[in-house]
Symmetry: C2
Subunit: 134 residues, 2 copies
């Protein structure tokens, strides 16, 4: 965390594949990513997936996170603020992305707290429509 974020971006064919999948599908873990990537290029290895993820993360293109299930999932930052929101169903585990404008309000609060915000992430836990029905 001492080095500044890298600026150059070398998009090799495999990195392109990985980034494209991430843009289309969002919040995937490394293995899911590998599986999808192999449909486009069967020779991609898990190591390449992880290295590409690290590469993108260093350059602030993506972000990794987990809700405590043991593995990380990854997703691209939003173009603008990097703001992001999730609905996480605590019953079936489904994760759905939601975008909202309300994040600005929190940025205001953050400023008051002497915290320069570069991105925000909101997780709402509860029951999705399907699970709430039961």
């Amino acid at each position: 965390m001492t080095k500044p974020a890298q600026t150059t971006l070398r998009l090799t064919p495999r990195r392109q594949i990985i980034l494209e999948i991430l843009r289309e599908r969002g919040h995937l873990d490394a293995y899911g990513l590998l599986e999808l990537a192999r449909r486009k290029d069967p020779r991609i290895s898990l190591a390449t997936v992880y290295r590409a993820l690290a590469y993108f993360r260093e350059r602030n293109l993506i972000q990794g996170r987990s809700f405590g299930e043991g593995r990380s999932h990854f997703e691209v930052h939003d173009a603008g603020t990097g703001a992001h929101a999730h609905f996480v169903c605590t019953r079936c585990g489904k994760v759905r992305e939601v975008k909202g404008k309300f994040i600005r309000d929190m940025e205001a609060l953050a400023q008051r707290e002497r915290f320069r915000v570069t991105g925000a992430h909101l997780d709402l836990f509860g029951l999705c429509g399907d699970c709430a029905a039961r």
Copy 2:
């Protein structure tokens, strides 16, 4: 995720120690927890820490999460809504807890989205006061 959350709560001496530390300090990883727990009872093992964490998580007393650094950290849910907020410094990695009322606004949004919210978690990424100063 198919079973309903457990309701009985057996608080053994070691579980008490672990929960107490979590209440006092919040967002600790398993090893940090082990270290602190051993000051109160040097014979506690790592397995017990992990088992206690799983036990509390099943009963919705705590929550595990990670920001992609490879290990999970754990924290107790808030008594009321389970709402929680973090400031995560992207430079030094420091995590600070913040509580806010604005979370209600998002709950309103969630209802519109057919999502019954039981808890919310907001992460704001950026630079903490110290790091922003440099």
